[in-house]
Symmetry: C2
Subunit: 196 residues, 2 copies
Amino acid sequence: MDAIFEATIQVLLAEGASRLTTTRVSERAGVSVGTMYQYFPNKRALLFAVLSRHTDEVLDKIEGACRASAGLAAADMVQNLLATYIEVKTSDPETSIALYRVATELDVPELMGKVGARITEAIEAMLAGAADMEFEDVPLVTNMVRAAMTGVTRTVFEQNASHALIRKLHMELLVMCQSYVQAVGVARKGRPARAA
Amino acid sequence: MDAIFEATIQVLLAEGASRLTTTRVSERAGVSVGTMYQYFPNKRALLFAVLSRHTDEVLDKIEGACRASAGLAAADMVQNLLATYIEVKTSDPETSIALYRVATELDVPELMGKVGARITEAIEAMLAGAADMEFEDVPLVTNMVRAAMTGVTRTVFEQNASHALIRKLHMELLVMCQSYVQAVGVARKGRPARAA
DNA sequence: ACCTGAACACCGTTCAAGT
DNA sequence: ACCTGAACACCGTTCAAGT
């Protein structure tokens, strides 16, 4: 079971997505194809499970960062969110890129939808409690920040950019999201913003 | 040849990406599989050609919008660029989504690279000639605007959002990009900005 | 010269036969 | 009860045989 997960990632990294076959995975995992089909009804389900394991890790960290940022100023929230996201996507980039490629080859709206919903929920809850400003349409602002964040990251991966360029784009993404948040947010009356 | 292109899109829309096979395309096009392999060395090359035809249309319109915006204020440039991009992606969304799905299933860094380079070139040339401000690192600003633009659009497609939501996100994307450009741009001395 | 489509290698999936 | 792997349907690609 865990051996099958490991085998999947190993085959993926060693042979590439186009050579990721049920036969090769079962061989590497040391079981027969038939046995694999007792655990997973089809190849799609197998890849889905492998991807879920990875996205769950990413989600846990993002949700953690959002919770930890509760009550901060909006600009600091954005900073923490982006730093966590970039960090999580940049560590072990090989696996990250390989899985990302599988995710696009596989057409998995269920998974993308679930992941998107959880990220959205976490960011929404965070932004709604910003110390220094409030937003007319929190879901909309959330959607935009998320889209910019994932869009820039995807662009980085597609260009397989250097480490230096990644850092530059990260800094710039921060500027973009912060200036956007500032543009659409309304200063909150009462208590002033707490410093980061 | 053109019949093969048409057949490919027809099969794609009628049967879906997973049922897009060489046999089905050749059947629909009224030629044998063997004949198809005289025009295209493999299935990948066929899909690449079909995608290129579509991306070339998109690129032409974007390049046109960028050229037409020469000498405007930066904010107006961004507005024209985004309006064109959204319009082009939103008209005939069925085909657009279907081809987009093929593009991700197929792994075509060559094509993505070529498209990205041409869009980048057009936006760079435009932004470098903004009437009211200049940018320290034009390629960086270009990259960011492009990433935000494509990222938001992709998110919209993945959620298969309603027409109303698309318009809302479009407006918001404009706010995001304009506030970003304003944040990183330096006011140009001399002649004042011309109104749109 | 150009087209055809049976044949081949390989894929995902199944299920009768083994233990 | 659980595992095995030959068998099946279907894919992309080729090439001897037809015109």
